[in-house]
């Protein structure tokens, strides 16, 4: 496990990652955290202390909805799912993020010759 290489999330990205993790079905908090960790090849570490406040914010904004359900190991757990608004928001945010990444990447990969041209 590449524990030592873990990186912290950029501020403001946690919400987007949560929405993304819910794209393919509802999950409970622990599931969301593990999904993010797994899909990032264990690079992104979700601080559980900030996960739940984030979930609260998203729910209040109407982007996700939650219900009590039963986990795989017969435990009562709160399951979150994407709302229609959340889905739209995710598309929008993903677009913005990709723009940003492209822009940042462009900046970081810029060569001096081109700059001059």
């Amino acid at each position: 496990m590449p524990k030592g290489n873990r990186v912290s999330l950029l501020p403001g990205t946690l919400e987007m990652l949560v929405l993304q993790s819910l794209l393919f079905g509802s999950r409970h908090g622990h599931g969301i955290a593990t999904t993010i960790q797994r899909t990032s090849d264990e690079l992104l570490l979700v601080d559980h202390g900030s996960l739940y406040p984030a979930l609260q914010r998203l729910e209040r904004a109407g982007l996700i909805a939650s219900t009590w359900g039963i986990s795989d190991n017969n435990r009562r757990a709160r399951f979150y799912k994407l709302t229609r608004a959340g889905r739209k928001k995710l598309v929008a945010e993903t677009g913005k993020w990709e723009q940003l990444v492209r822009a940042v990447k462009g900046v970081l990969q810029a060569r001096p010759e081109e700059e001059q041209a």
Partner: protein, 875 residues
């Protein structure tokens, strides 16, 4: 930190769930429980610290944790619906059967009279010198009442069937003649008016206290019933009071319509013989209340000396006394013939059904133990999270109680059904049997006992869990399987108990079959009518002759005859017969029974005449007195000598003027178990024929098919009505029905025990199957290795079956031992079969062996089909 929108508790639970999942994962990664917990806590940082502060500040309340346990338990049960259904069904069956049998026991054996302190009431019973139940004479009752030291009060009573003249119609009613202290002894207060007093008894006042039911029925509960008159058997009685509702006298299942003072007896007999103040007629049942501090045993000890001083005081020759002994029985439940018949069968059934409950509990415990083995990991996680062991045990008990509650509800519904069914096949007639509070309490008690018992088994198992190795062990969580694990012991116990049940039902069924196979000595196809002629007046001889003549003209009827008593309906008994050339030895039982019959009786019942002649029309009033005796009587008194022509008298004082003119073959009389008594048949024409008492008419007919039988019944009824519409037909049925009725207790016991036996076998096979299947799963890897190493199927079969054989064999041995002691317990109920009947024991054992083989077949087959490669990869 502030959370919006949601309750704090909700949030805590969400975090808890998360924490638990995290710990579980950490454990899976191979951390120790402590590490797992610390690592999980670390990922939360501050949020958890807050949560913990909250948690510590407000520890969970008992009810909160209880509701948590219940919700969690419900989810566990919902997750394995098959197991839950099996357990609930098994327990419901056992609880239902127990509750149903207990309802019968409660109604027949335990129900107390609604009187003051029923526990201190006793029945004082007179026994004849042969040990048969008898009644007391009035003189003896009064003497005992005045001279005993054990009782604070003694009352006497007797039941009379009377005819009530209601103006436009006559009605059969039941009256109870009671001594003046009867109601004060019982502590029963009037609902209206007053009760009978000692003065009423002494004065012989013609008064009556109505039963509440009769008051409602005949007077619609109106107060103006008091002071009105009842016309009873020609006397006029004044109504002075009404008994409270619920009080139905002390004869359980035979409630009187009213009570009359004992002193009114001479007047009610129409100026006939007074049976008061004489020792010659025994007619009273006696109840008493024990003095405070005196036990029934102490009272009993004083009875024999009391009887001796009575004889001395009244100058009775003990050799010729009707009284042989006086016994004391608990009287709180009243007097009940039903209790006499059913006490033993019901106690036996109670024992059998308790065994069924044990087997069911063993089965459920077994299932739960197996399940808890599968759940060890879950428990380990809970322990690692920090749950106390007590909490985990409590969780398990909660689950048991949830199961129990469901089984209890289902069981009660089932019990209701079983009771209805038992009543529908009329095993216990004339008795109110219902599921009441005490039955409910009983059911809840056995359920709780069962819940604790089987809930504890997995709990104890769980208590031994060491979280660390269990978690490392992997999913199967298989222990090393101690030689005598609880589930093995349970299977042994189950097998033993089932064997006892199967043997019991075998013995009882054979008893029933033996009884059914008995030749009663008469033709059971003959119809018998019980006729009540007490409401009509007139000449019994004329009525009887006319009726038999009319009946023999009914199409299909071959013969019609009369007898005073029907099968199993009692008989008059007479003591001290004296015969030509017979010298009784001291203390001899000189009782014979007397049956009055018409000339055609033997031919219509097909009772063969062995010697002499049958009765003829010439044997009428005025002609020489004649009698026919049965074989038993001939053998007893004449020992091979020819009884024909011999004479006898009913007492040694009277001239011997009754001549024996014939001997008939023995026929069963009271029931099928008892040998025929010494029986004297007298000709109806010399005995007044139809009497106020019971009258039975036998009709021998030739019929073909149902239609004809139905028509015959109609025709017979019409013929009887045509002779005199006042004749009440109490019953009309083939004799086989009367014979069958005497077998009701045996039938109840044998069919129910058969049912219990089948249930026991089913449960045991499920239990055995469960443990074998579980073992096969547990040993899959081992089988795989062995097969990979070249072990053939026989080896594997042997491995699986050795266990089955050991368990079942041990169970069968224990069961045989237990069955021997059971047989001794039930010996009195058996007939024609020894309590240790080899055939029954052997076949029951064989049945269980076959069941064991069947139960072992599937798991064994599964074991031999193990694919070595798969087993090794998955194991």
């Amino acid at each position: 930190m502030k959370w919006f929108g949601r309750a704090d508790r909700d949030y805590r639970e969400e975090l808890d769930a998360h924490l638990e999942m995290e710990i579980r994962e950490n454990l899976d990664r191979g951390m120790s429980p402590h590490e797992a917990r610390q690592a999980a806590l670390r990922t939360f940082g501050n949020a958890l610290a807050v949560r913990q502060q909250l948690a510590e500040a407000r520890p969970l309340h008992f009810w909160q944790t209880l509701s948590q346990d219940v919700r969690y338990g419900a989810r566990v049960l919902k997750r394995s619906p098959g197991l839950t259904a099996t357990i609930v069904f098994t327990l419901a069956l056992a609880i239902g059967a127990n509750a149903a049998i207990f309802s019968l026991v409660e109604a027949v054996l335990l129900r107390m009279l609604p009187v003051r302190e029923p526990q201190s009431l006793v029945i004082v019973r007179a026994l004849s010198r042969q040990g048969a139940r008898d009644s007391f004479s009035h003189t003896d009752y009064e003497w005992l009442r005045d001279h005993n030291r054990a009782f604070s009060a003694m009352s006497a009573s007797t039941v009379w069937k009377m005819s009530l003249d209601a103006g436009d119609h006559k009605e059969r009613v039941t009256a109870e003649l009671v001594s003046g202290n009867y109601f004060t002894l019982l502590g029963v207060e009037p609902a209206a008016g007053r009760m009978i007093t000692v003065d009423d008894d002494h004065q012989g006042r013609l008064i009556a206290v109505l039963s509440h039911a009769f008051w409602q029925r005949s007077f619609a509960g109106r107060d103006d019933a008091l002071g009105r008159n009842l016309r009873l058997d020609g006397s006029s009685l004044t109504i002075v009071g009404v008994a409270p509702s619920g009080f139905e006298g002390e004869f359980a299942g035979n409630p009187p319509d009213f009570w009359i003072p004992l002193g009114a007896q001479p007047a009610l007999s129409g100026g006939g013989r007074s049976t008061l103040h004489t020792r010659n007629v025994s007619w009273l049942d006696v109840m008493a209340r024990l003095r405070p501090g005196v036990t029934a045993a102490q009272a009993q000890a004083g009875m024999q000396p009391l009887l001796e001083s009575l004889r001395a005081d009244l100058r009775v020759d003990s050799q010729n006394d009707y009284l042989g002994a006086i016994t004391i029985e608990p009287g709180g439940g009243g007097l009940s013939s039903l209790r006499d018949y059913y006490a033993q069968p019901l106690r036996l059934l109670m024992a059998l059904v308790a065994v069924v409950l044990l087997i069911a509990c063993a089965n459920v415990a077994n299932l739960l133990v197996a399940q808890s083995a599968a759940r060890r990991r879950e428990f380990a996680v809970r322990l690692a999270i920090g749950a106390g062991r007590a909490r985990v045990v409590r969780q398990l008990l909660t689950e048991s109680f949830l199961l129990m509650a469901m089984a209890c509800v289902a069981g009660l519904a089932l019990a209701d059904g079983i009771v209805r069914m038992l009543l529908a096949v009329s095993v216990v007639q004339g008795l109110e049997v219902h599921l009441n509070l005490s039955v409910l309490a009983f059911t809840v008690a056995i359920s709780s006992a069962a819940a604790v018992t089987f809930g504890l088994a997995p709990a104890l198992q769980c208590n031994r869990i060491d979280p660390w190795p269990t978690l490392k062990d992997g999913i199967t969580g298989a222990g090393t399987g101690a030689r005598f694990s609880p589930s093995r012991l349970l299977v042994v116990t189950q097998t033993a108990l089932s064997l006892v049940l199967v043997i019991a039902s075998g013995l009882l069924l054979r008893t029933l079959l033996n009884l059914k196979a008995i030749d009663p000595g008469f033709d059971e196809q003959v119809l018998e009518a019980n006729l009540d002629t007490s409401l009509i007046s007139g000449n019994g001889v004329a009525l009887g002759t006319a009726l038999l003549e009319r009946l023999s003209t009914v199409p299909g009827v071959e013969r019609a005859s009369f007898s005073q008593f029907g099968f199993g309906q009692g008989a008059s008994r007479i003591c001290c017969i004296s015969l030509d050339g017979y010298v009784p030895y001291p203390n001899e039982d000189k009782n014979v029974r007397i049956q009055t019959v018409s000339a055609e009786y033997f031919r219509s019942l097909n009772i063969p005449l062995i010697a002499g002649r049958p009765f003829a029309d010439a044997d009428s009033n005025g002609a020489p007195r004649v009698a026919i005796i049965n074989e038993t009587m001939a053998r007893y008194y004449f020992r091979g000598a020819d009884p024909l022509g011999k004479r006898f008298a009913w007492s040694h004082a009277a001239p011997k003027d009754i001549e024996i003119i014939g001997v008939v073959k023995d026929a069963k009389y009271d029931n099928l178990r008892q040998d025929s008594p010494r029986l004297v048949y007298l000709p109806a024409l010399q005995q007044g024929f139809f009497s106020l008492g019971p009258n039975f008419v036998q009709i021998r007919a030739k019929t073909h098919g149902e239609r004809q039988v139905a028509t015959l019944f109609q025709d017979v009824r019409a013929a009887i009505r045509a002779v005199n519409p006042g004749i009440r037909i109490v019953s009309l049925e083939p004799l086989s029905a009367a014979v069958n009725r005497t077998l009701a207790p045996e039938r109840l016991v044998s069919w129910l025990s058969l049912g219990f036996g089948i249930v026991a076998i089913l449960l045991t096979s499920v239990g055995l199957y469960g443990i074998l299947a579980y073992n096969v799963v547990r040993k899959t890897k081992e089988f795989g290795i062995r097969m990979a190493l070249g072990a053939g199927r026989p080896t594997i079969v042997r491995m699986v079956m050795t266990e089955a054989v050991l368990l079942v064999g041990l169970g069968l041995m224990l069961g045989l031992a237990a069955a021997v002691s059971f047989g001794n317990l039930a010996a009195k109920l058996l007939f024609g079969v020894q309590p240790r009947d080899t055939m029954t024991f052997a076949s029951a054992t064989l049945i269980l062996v076959l069941v064991a083989i069947a139960a072992g077949y599937i798991p064994t087959r599964r074991a031999t089909r193990v694919e070595p490669a798969t087993a090794l990869r998955n194991g």
